[in-house]
Symmetry: C2
DNA sequence: TTGAAAGCGGTACCAG
DNA sequence: CTGGTACCGCTTTCAA
């Protein structure tokens, strides 16, 4: 590839002049400008962004760290982030933690040494132990050349005064879903939750409880059972609930994967959905509209989550680092009613992309 | 962040010495080595890979260009590529074309100027026009500092003597699927194909035809109908076939999305699957095991496709560029028999990840 | 308006 | 075994 030297030689001008033309500085005579431009075209020159990066300490690369690209939830998040990134001129570096904190920490350090401009992070650091606290402190102090490398977390906000986040009002979403079931007349609602002590899981449980309280309906705490995200765990938990003859008429699941598992369990045990047991999922990933019966779900704006994170990242990168004010962007959810709670619900395949 | 100068100062040695210690050159006294190492630890120094990249003309970044991350097919491909990339020390840059050739071309140029070490490309350049030929020539000649930037295409091989590829034996896969249906006794098989003139689509049609010939079963060419990848198109085509009372007893679809659409059409029109119409998909994305009836599908090794591309990329980057020999890696498919062709087929949710 | 030169953070060569 | 120095490609300051 031609470099700026070649262009300068070809045009018979100095490197500085070429640089001026490229960066649109006014102070170049039309004569030279023309010569430089045609040299650029002839040689197909394009500035090397590695060198630019080194010079400017700015790479125009944003890293996005998620647990796994095959979690379709993140797929939409990435899509949103990428869309905005492209428009703003950033490239996206992607990496997966597979829910391993060690890996996550190593990735962070690697991206710092790559001088990414910012990091969008779906963290696996849920605990409250010393290691996690130390890690968060580290995240707060990432920098290149004295300038902070901003981190924006997805899904939940860290205990930090610096780290921005794009989150969902989980409590309200769970409240809405539960209220909906109660309004349908369901009185014995089970909840397949996230693993114990998961922050987001706890918020969902809080919403679940609040709805019951407000409706004056008691619930059985033993019907809040932890799953592990997977379809199979939803299947197992639902199957146990039914086989052990627990008296339930609805299941609210903390994600769609587990809800699909629950539907499969009902299908196998010939429990009619929604007649005997209504099922509500969470996230509204595309699979929700594909299963039979189609799955009623809390619709999380996944695409928007990625897009918002990237927009915010750009904002932060523009602003004066010294006066950074942490911002937590809370997105709200919608509710998609489908056949798993309402036999006659209709939905369209028309705009389904996957 | 500390740079190598800081480390040198802190350790009281020259920059060269620090560099030697880092890169494990033997010629350093234990004394100095120790001092440098503790300086590195104290300062938390890690080499800036932008500077390294500039110096070495090697960024350890591989770009992967796909149509869209939300196509779950690519999701698995990325996962495979990323897994291998991490092990080999590369970072993955990701970009989407949304099937626009203009965008694809621009992305290529952008990545060249970013000095990526290689590009893995799921191209949208299917046509045979002058523009495409010119584009392929450009792909063959990407370089940084005189060294070629290798391109490896996914899914199909370009008309090129240089560009490696990881592909599937589409003809055989379609042949297998069709033979399977014929063996089941189906005699009136429809095929919902990819858009007209799509190379891969044509190979599938060839396999479909060969199976019929070998079995001595005639087929109705009007039952090969192009879809457009989407669930909705599969739904529409299947619905038309049934409503217009075409006499068919099986549908082989060029992807799973369209197959799911076909299943939905049958469901709506109360045509029993597989009793009256058997349905076979293609790709075996996870949705195939979620729909009801679950979908029999040609299982494409998506993960392996990404992994193989990345391994090959690494090979090429190691070898002497002058003696590069183009290699086309053909992966073979498996066949997943499920309920859409065999009522009693069983499958497990246990290892399903999405 | 133009060119020369310094410097971004490393690596590697050469001299001592 | 160690340090000085040139250079990777670009931007920017300074001097002319």
């Amino acid at each position: 590839m031609a470099d700026i030297k070649d262009v300068a030689r070809q045009a018979g001008v100095s490197i500085s002049t070429v640089s001026r033309v490229i960066n649109g500085s006014k102070a170049v005579s039309d004569e030279l400008k023309m010569r430089v431009e045609s040299a650029i075209n002839e040689l197909g020159y394009r500035a090397n962004s590695v060198a630019q990066g080194l010079k400017a300490s700015k790479t125009n690369k944003i890293a996005i760290i998620i647990t796994s690209v095959s979690r379709t939830f993140f797929t939409s998040v990435i899509e949103g982030a990428n869309e905005v990134a492209e428009r703003l001129g950033y490239s996206l570096l992607i990496a997966e933690t597979h829910d391993k904190l060690d890996r996550e920490i190593e990735l962070i350090e690697s991206f710092v040494s790559q001088w990414v401009d910012g990091i969008i992070l779906a963290s696996s650091a849920y605990a409250h132990d010393a290691r996690t606290l130390q890690y968060i402190q580290r995240l707060e102090s990432l920098e290149k050349k004295g300038r902070r490398i901003p981190v924006i977390t997805l899904e939940y906000a860290m205990d930090s005064r610096y780290i921005d986040a794009v989150v969902i009002d989980y409590e309200k979403a769970a409240y809405d879903a539960t209220s909906y079931l109660l309004k349908l007349g369901r009185r014995k609602i089970a909840h397949i939750s996230l693993p114990k002590n998961h922050r987001i899981g706890r918020m969902r449980i809080a919403g679940f409880e609040r709805a019951h309280e407000e409706f004056g309906v008691p619930y059985d705490p033993s019907h809040i059972i932890a799953g592990d995200y997977t379809t199979y765990s939803g299947y197992q938990v639902a199957r146990n609930l039914i086989e052990e003859k627990h008296d339930i008429d609805a299941i609210f699941c903390a994600n769609d994967q587990m809800a699909v598992g629950a539907i499969k369990a009902c299908e196998e045990l010939e429990v009619p959905v929604p007649e005997q047991i209504a099922i509500v999922g969470n996230d509204d990933i595309f699979a929700a509209s594909i299963v039979s019966p189609s799955l009623t779900s809390i619709s999380v704006p996944k695409y928007e989550m990625g897009a918002a994170a990237m927009r915010r990242m750009h904002e932060i990168l523009q602003e004066d680092a010294a006066k950074h004010l942490r911002q937590i962007i809370t997105l709200s959810t919608a509710f998609e009613e489908r056949e798993s709670t309402l036999k006659t619900a209709k939905h369209s395949l028309k705009y389904l992309e996957w």
